[in-house]
C-alpha cells in the first residue's frame, strides 16, 4: 500500500465547467479517506483523476513515490470498486475469490496464495469449497468484499460501492468494509454523498463543495466543529440548528430569551450564527422549568430509541433530540434549554467558524 497525493488539482471540462478548482490532498498510507459532498461537488471527478480515467487540466497526482499523471489506469496499480457485485452462484467461494486474479492472468501459485490469505483474513476458510447459496448473508458479503480486495494494489478507489444495497445490508457491509480495511491497512479513497456512511467509515473526511475543499478532519472533529455553514448543514441528521444570536453577558442570546453558552474569543455585541446539535437542546415542562425560553411543539417523531421534536420558538424552528421517555404532545408549550459546552459559532457574512 502507498500514500496518495493530490497536488493543486484542477479539472475543467471542454464545455467550460470547472469540476475541481484547486485541490490539495495528502492521503496517508493505510488511511481510509472519505470524500463527501453533494452531486456536482467534484468528488467523483477527483477520484477519476486519481484513477487515470480523467486527465487533469493542471496539477499532479502522486501514488507512492511515483508521479502518475499521464499514465493509463492499468499502469497506476490501483483498484477501482464501483459496487460490490453479486457473486457467481455456480462457482465455489474459492473460484469467486480467484476470479479477478485469473482475469488478470496472475500465475496459479500467486492466485492460490492470495485466495488463501483473503480467506484467512475474512474467516472464510471453512467455506472455500461451498457455493455462495450455501452461505449466510454475512458470509456472502465477506466473499464479495474479499473478491474486491483480493488484489494488492497501491490503493483502493471506491465510488459509492454500497449505494445499491438495501439499508440493512448496507449497514452490515459498512462494518465489514471498515474491519477488513483496518486489518489489511489498505489505503482507500472512498467517495460518497451519504454523511452517515462518511462518518462511520472515514479516518478523515474531506467535505467538498463546488470543486473546493470545505473542511478536512476526523469524523468527530467535523461533527463537533464544522468549519463552515455548508459543512454544518451537511453533517448530522436531523441537521444542526443554526440560530442567529448576539453575544451578551458571557453567553449568546437569541430571540425569545434563548440562551446558549458562548465560546471564547468573540466580542460582546457581536452578531453570530450559533450551530447547536439537536442533542444539545432539551425540552421540559414549563411547570417544572418556568424561566427558560418558551416554544411550542410543532411535531414529534418517536423513533423508538429516541424522539425528535421540532419546536417552534421565536428563534426559529429547532430540532431537539430527546430520549424516548420524554412525552410531549403536539402543540404543547415547552421550555427549551441549551445544555453542555459552547457550540461553534459562525460569521453571518463569511459563513465561516469564528472564535474558539
Amino acid at each position: 500500500m502507498a500514500e496518495v497525493l493530490v497536488k493543486r488539482l484542477r479539472k475543467e471540462f471542454p464545455d467550460g465547467t470547472v469540476a475541481v478548482e484547486e485541490l490539495d490532498l495528502a492521503i496517508a498510507d493505510g488511511e481510509l479517506f472519505v470524500m463527501l459532498g453533494p452531486s456536482g461537488c467534484g468528488k467523483t471527478t477527483t477520484l477519476r483523476c486519481v484513477a487515470g480515467l480523467e486527465e487533469e487540466t493542471s496539477g499532479q497526482i502522486v501514488i507512492g513515490d511515483e508521479v502518475v499523471s499521464g499514465l493509463r489506469p492499468s499502469q497506476r496499480d490501483i483498484a477501482m470498486v464501483f459496487q460490490f457485485y453479486a457473486l457467481y452462484p455456480h462457482l465455489s467461494v474459492r473460484d469467486n475469490l480467484a476470479f479477478p486474479l485469473r482475469a488478470a492472468k496472475r500465475p496459479a501459485a500467486e492466485v492460490d496464495e492470495r485466495v488463501n490469505e483473503a480467506a484467512r483474513m475474512l474467516r472464510l476458510e471453512p467455506f472455500l469449497d461451498r457455493r455462495p447459496g450455501k452461505l449466510s448473508g454475512g458470509e456472502q458479503q465477506r466473499v464479495a468484499l474479499g473478491r474486491a480486495m483480493v488484489r494488492h494494489p497501491k490503493a483502493f478507489l471506491m465510488d459509492e460501492p454500497l449505494t445499491n444495497l438495501d439499508a440493512e445490508l448496507r449497514a452490515d457491509m459498512r462494518a465489514e468494509l471498515k474491519h477488513v480495511q483496518q486489518r489489511l491497512s489498505s489505503t482507500m479513497i472512498y467517495v460518497t454523498h451519504d454523511q452517515t456512511e462518511a462518518m462511520a467509515l472515514g479516518d478523515r473526511i474531506a467535505i467538498m463543495n463546488k470543486g473546493r475543499l470545505e473542511q478536512l478532519g476526523a469524523p468527530m472533529e467535523v461533527y463537533d466543529r464544522p468549519a463552515t455553514l455548508f459543512a454544518a448543514r451537511f453533517i448530522g441528521s436531523p441537521p444542526m440548528n443554526l440560530i442567529e444570536a448576539e453575544v451578551t453577558n458571557g453567553h449568546l442570546t437569541a430571540a425569545g430569551g434563548l440562551t446558549i453558552a458562548a465560546p471564547e474569543g468573540i466580542q460582546r455585541g457581536e452578531r453570530v450564527i450559533a450551530g447547536v446539535r439537536p442533542e444539545s437542546f432539551t425540552v421540559s415542562d414549563p411547570a417544572s422549568d418556568p424561566d427558560g425560553a418558551r416554544g411550542r411543539v410543532a411535531s414529534r417523531e418517536a423513533l423508538g430509541d429516541e424522539t425528535i421534536y421540532v419546536v417552534e420558538t421565536e428563534a426559529g424552528l429547532l430540532n431537539v433530540r430527546m430520549p424516548p421517555t420524554a412525552r410531549f404532545g403536539e402543540d404543547q408549550v415547552v421550555t427549551v434549554r441549551h445544555r453542555g459546552s459552547a457550540p461553534p459559532v459562525y460569521d453571518p457574512q463569511t459563513e465561516r467558524l469564528v472564535g474558539r
Partner: protein, 355 residues
Amino acid sequence: MTSAIVASGISKTFGDVQALDDLNLDVPEGAFFVLLGPSGAGKTTTLRVIAGLEKPDAGTVHLTGIDATGASPAERDLAMVFQSYALYPKQTAGDNIASPLRARKLPKAEIDAQVARVAELLHIEKLLQRKPAQLSGGEMQRVALGRALVRNPRAFLMDEPLTNLDLKLRVEMRTELTRIHRSLGRTFLYVTNDQVEGMSMADQLAVLRAGTIQQVGTPTEIYDRPANRWVATFVGSPRMNLLPCTANGRLEGSGWALPNPGFVSQGDRPALLGVRSEDLSLETRDEAAALEGRVYAVEPLGDRTLVDIEIGDRRIVVKAAPTASPEIGEQVRASVDLDRIHLFDAETESAVARR
C-alpha cells in the same frame, strides 16, 4: 371509540398465491393508522379490498358500522392517494384539485371555496395556476393530496404516497401529513414499507407479513414489546441483536451467560436473546449482566458511536456514547439492561413471556 373501518376475516388469493390470510383490522375513527410491512406483505391488497377495488374471497368490510362488503368503490366514499401522482398534465394545479368536485357538478362558488381551503391547508396557494410540469415532485404530491382532501370522504386511504420523494422532502412531508391529519381530525389509513415513516407518523400500527397481521399497537408498544422475532428485527435501526441461547435459571449462549430476568424457563428448547443496541452499554454498570467479545469495527455517527462486537461467531452492535473509541480487536464488556431484553422461541419465533 367507534370504528371507521373494520375488516374481518379477509382472505384473498391471486392464482395460487395467498395474498391475505384471515386478516382482521379495526381502524378507529380519526386515527392515523399505519399498515407497515415489506413489499409483498399484502398491504396494498388490503387497501384495495377496503376501497372496493378488489373483491375478497372471504370476509367482510364494515365502514362506520355499515356492511360495505358488496358496495362499489364510489358507494364506499373513500379517498385514495397513491405513490404516483396521476395528475392531469394539461390542467392547472387548481383544476386538478377541483376535478372530483366538478365531477359531482357542485356549484362553482362552492368548488372555489373548497379548493382555497385545501390549498391553504397544504400551503400551495401560490401554485394553483401552474401546470404539473412546472411543479417539483413534492409540490405535485401536495396537489395529488389536495385532490383527495377536497372531498369529504369517510376516510383517506394512502398507498406509499411519499415513496417517490427524495429523503429530505420525505422527512418534511411526514411532518406535514401528521399536521394535516391533526387539523382535519379524519381517519387516515396509510400503507408504507418504511419502518421509520410508520413509527414516526402512526397513532396505531399494524405490522403485516405474508398476508397476516403480526402485531397491532402503538409505535412504542411495537418497539418495546415486539410480539415475535420478525417484528423485533423489522422495526428499529440498527436492527435488534439476536443471539442463540437456552433459557433456564440463566440465559446461556456460546461463550456468554446472563441472569434470567424472569423469562419462563424453556428447558432444552432453542431460544434467541434479543437486545436492542441502545440497551447495551460499554460503561460497565452491572458486572453480572454483560456480554463479552472482541471489537470488530467502530463507527462514529456524531450523536452516538456504533461499536460492532464479535461474540463467538456472532456479531452484535452496541450504541455507545460519541466519545467511545475502543480499538479493533480489543476485548470489551457490554453491560445489558436486563429490564429491556427480549427472548424468542427459536422455532415458533414468538416472544417468550416473563413471569
